[in-house]
Symmetry: C2
Subunit: 262 residues, 2 copies
DNA sequence: CTCCTCGCAAAGATCAGATTTATTCGCGTA
DNA sequence: TACGCGAATAAATCTGATCTTTGCGAGGAG
């Protein structure tokens, strides 16, 4: 009986629950909206691990059909944020099960209260792998990549002199992104966004001196030179110095700003 | 030719491509099946970047309903493997857009022809971050974690003496997994599976001497000691030696096995 | 002949309802 | 107390319809 005889399908309420919260979206973005909303809530701890939802609850909450909530939950499942079982519902997973390298998850955490903790994690991660990536880049960079790195250093010098921190940041990001791409390892290359976030976070949190340390710029230049000449050890050393300097400068400024800064 | 025009939905073959791999499951795994199948095909290059599919084609190919294929495509999209646009269809993305840290993607690549390349990538990655993780572990490991690492080293010694490579591998994995967890950084911890795969790949590819190098074991012990005593520099150095040794042993054995080994 | 606008159609996005299937939980029986 | 058995529940799947974009071509203006 796929055809209900007497019921003429009145289409009760076309816009039931989206009176004010959907002003600008308006387009076919429902799934993305639900996904973002659920992701943010889980990451923020609003839905702590162990919380159980039901699909019915989700689509009631967000006023969407089951297809939409289902697909959103599906993606959350793929990121390890939830698991769903029959007769139980959708359970928020322990943090250990999360795919912490998923760019979307990283963005959610950077958006929320976890921002500082996430930046610390990313920063530590970067400290670990970037020297190694520099060494690889020195062995594998193309001439174009080496040139682009040198050019980025040049930009950094100019913008530092002008005290234009935003432009400096942009050049810095180009430098690191190019270096990671030049490493020839797709996985290092994929971490470019991570490094970009760390650099951006440092600048926007004012954990960066108004006058960028000339030594730091010189070390960037050293990395670029080492990459061009194909000297892995030199590139790795200089990159390590860059990171050490960044950590120390950051710590100094954090202490100056206030010990109880949180 | 993903578009057979004249063939409507006749429900062609109930066992299209997974006749043997789903013997016990047999239930509620259609989406996972389609996802795996598509993922493998994309990763294997059977569906190269730029290929355009349609949802209709997908569910016709795998004999499932739109919901299922839709959700599978959704997850693929979340991993960056495909993008879908109206009026166009589902386009396989360039490799640069892939989330190469997604465990599922890593598994697909390890399953296919990319296995060696993927192992090389992972190996380089590991070489980069594991010394840094060891240094962090030396600062943050709990007594239990340090003890577990020491215990794993002890197991490694025993199994090496017995020339039981599988048991040796298991102990090795416990050692590294514990160390990464002890680093206190969730992102390093999340890479435990990656390291596990690298170690397993080395063993199963016979890139590991039948008699594990006693020096390597001693360096593991050194890491464990340094972690227990809280000596980051010592832990980092020893870990770096472990990795260097592994790379050299691997290269030596690969050359012995055959220079043209691919 | 070129360029721009408008409309059609293709394909995903969303919705709504039904059906299937696997679990869990409670209850009755041995 | 233990062991099944059945009912209820919630996800998984299927189905068919409708909505919304958007690529592309037809047709008109310059």
């Amino acid at each position: 009986m796929p055809n209900p005889p007497g019921a003429p399908s009145v289409t009760p309420s076309p816009t039931p629950s989206t009176p004010s919260t959907t002003p600008s979206t308006g387009a076919g973005r429902r799934r993305e909206d639900v996904l973002d909303a659920l992701g943010h809530r889980i990451v923020a701890g609003d839905l702590p691990p162990g919380t159980v939802l039901t699909l019915e609850g989700v689509d009631a909450t967000y006023g969407v059909s089951r297809s939409v909530s289902r697909e959103a939950v599906q993606v959350l499942g793929a990121m390890g944020l939830v698991t769903s079982r029959r007769r139980v519902g959708i359970t928020v997973s322990e943090r250990a099960a999360w795919n912490v390298f998923d760019p979307r998850l990283i963005r959610w955490r950077l958006d929320g209260a976890e921002r500082d903790a996430q930046l610390r994690s990313l920063s530590e991660l970067r400290a670990g792998f970037e020297p190694a990536a520099a060494a690889l880049a020195a062995q594998r960079a193309t001439a174009e990549q080496a040139a682009r790195m040198a050019s980025a250093v040049s930009d950094m010098t100019v913008h530092a002199r002008a005290r234009d921190l935003d432009a400096y940041l942009a050049a810095d990001q180009v430098f690191h992104t190019t270096m990671l791409a030049a490493s020839g390892n797709e996985m290092y290359a994929a971490l470019a966004d991570v490094v970009g976030e760390v650099l951006a976070g440092r600048t926007h949190h004012h954990l960066m001196p108004a006058d960028p340390n000339p030594d730091a710029i010189e070390w960037h230049a050293e990395v670029a030179r080492a990459v061009r000449r194909g000297e892995p050890a030199a590139a790795e050393d200089a990159m390590r110095r860059i990171i050490t300097e960044a950590q120390e400068a950051q710590q100094t400024l954090a202490e100056q700003a206030g010990p109880g800064d949180r």
